[in-house]
């Protein structure tokens, strides 16, 4: 019993270096900046008031508020700014700029905690106010930013550490947060793979064909896919197999690199063949931070435990 307790303690709390936090911070910072730049011309189109937007964000906000009045959205910010005499258009622009700035600060590693909280909150407000227009990338960005907001910051790569001589919290917390992110990813892939395996289309290649030839993902002409149709069943099975087996093969050192490569290749392919580059990027960031970043187990003194090895 004591041996098991020791193993659990080692698994969850053994101090380790914080390079994964740096990977997560820089990756999410890049993600937020690209998200903002991507939305630059459509920001008002998606989030303005009735009469100016594609679809009133108030409808999305009403749907979300029905689930809980505690879910942040852009209306909170617009109402608060309105009390100071700021027009809604000005507020929306300010939100966009602040989100972009938060992303840039995350990349640089300046004011890490403030930037992480700001990025999480503003992105969440935008995602909830555009709930009818949101998809998986918004969920995963929220997940990543939520973890970053709570993670031990600043990490060793951050400018904060150099400029303000700030120290991170103890390595045990670094390990614990990483474990939570790792287990969350295992859940995501396991259930993603399981639900795919329940669909006949993922066994006979039909779903891959439909996904690749379905607007707006049909950036590759169907004429180029048809000659490869006999490979689609195997590819479909490979996709859900890699996802379903992720929680099994991502942990052992012998199979981790292979599985990480397979998953990253899958997401890269999704980005390139279906145009979902934001989605591909956030999944790459989460995977690399959780399982790809090199770490070293530390002694209680903070020194690297010898021999220096990657942790599992």
């Amino acid at each position: 019993m004591q041996k098991w307790q020791e193993r659990v303690r080692e698994f969850c709390f053994a101090p380790e270096s914080d390079s994964w936090v740096g990977v997560l911070r820089v990756g999410l910072g890049l993600q937020v900046v690209i998200y903002c730049l991507n939305f630059r011309s459509d920001w008002t189109f998606f989030f303005a008031a009735p009469g100016e937007a594609l679809i009133s964000r108030q409808l999305s906000e009403a749907i979300v508020s029905a689930q809980s009045a505690l879910i942040p959205n852009l209306a909170w910010l617009a109402d608060a700014a309105g009390r100071f005499g700021l027009a809604e258009a000005t507020t929306l622009s300010a939100v966009w700029f602040a989100l972009l700035l938060a992303g840039a600060l995350l990349i640089a590693g300046l004011f890490c905690r403030t930037a992480a909280v700001t990025a999480w909150l503003l992105h969440l407000c935008a995602a909830k106010s555009g709930d009818l227009l949101s998809y998986g990338v918004d969920n995963f960005m929220t997940i990543g930013l939520f973890y970053l907001m709570l993670a031990p910051l600043p990490d060793g790569w951050a400018l904060d550490r150099t400029l303000w001589n700030r120290k991170t919290l103890d390595g045990a917390l670094v390990r614990l947060f990483r474990r939570i992110l790792q287990m969350h990813l295992c859940l995501i892939y396991f259930f993603g793979g399981l639900t795919k395996a329940l669909g006949t289309g993922w066994w006979n290649g039909a779903n891959l064909w439909r996904a690749l030839t379905r607007p707006p993902f049909d950036i590759i002409p169907p004429e180029m896919i048809v000659p490869w149709r006999h490979f689609l069943p195997a590819l479909g099975i490979a996709i859900w197999s890699v996802e379903l087996a992720y929680p099994v093969f991502i942990w052992p050192k012998k199979t981790r690199l292979l599985w990480l490569t397979l998953v990253c290749a899958m997401h890269l392919a999704i980005g390139l063949t279906m145009g979902m580059y934001l989605f591909a990027m956030i999944m790459l960031v989460l995977n690399l931070a959780a399982f790809g970043a090199p770490t070293r187990v530390l002694e209680k003194t903070g020194d690297v435990r010898s021999p220096a090895t990657s942790v599992s």
């Binding site: 009469g51 505690l70 030839t213």
Partner: protein, 139 residues
Amino acid sequence: MRQALNAYLHLAGIQSGYGFFAPNIPDSYKLVFAFSYPDGHEDFFSAQADRVETNVRLARLTDYIGRTRSEIVREDLIKLLAYASWRQHCDATGVRALLLTLAQPTAEEFLRGKRPAYERLYEYEFSPVPSANDATKPN
């Protein structure tokens, strides 16, 4: 308690499942507006953006409209989109909104020459309601 739990789920981004494109790829929908003019001609318009990312979001909305079981929600959402599109067709006297579903051929059918085709699911007609603020608000 329930509100707090729902809020936490949304704050952490864990309010929905992870079954993307699972168990099968859902049907694809398209919304087309036919704006009619006093001289009798019709302009067809379908919201499209230059960026794939924006089109993915627009498709998400259209799919939501197509899959919802509530007729009221479907009509109201289409009406909102018609209003937004009408701003670019100020001289139009009416608009028909066509919700189409895509019939995708299989790979074998595609090889035999069958091509994707849209089938009409629902059709709505809107006409402008005169108002003090905006004469092109759909009825």
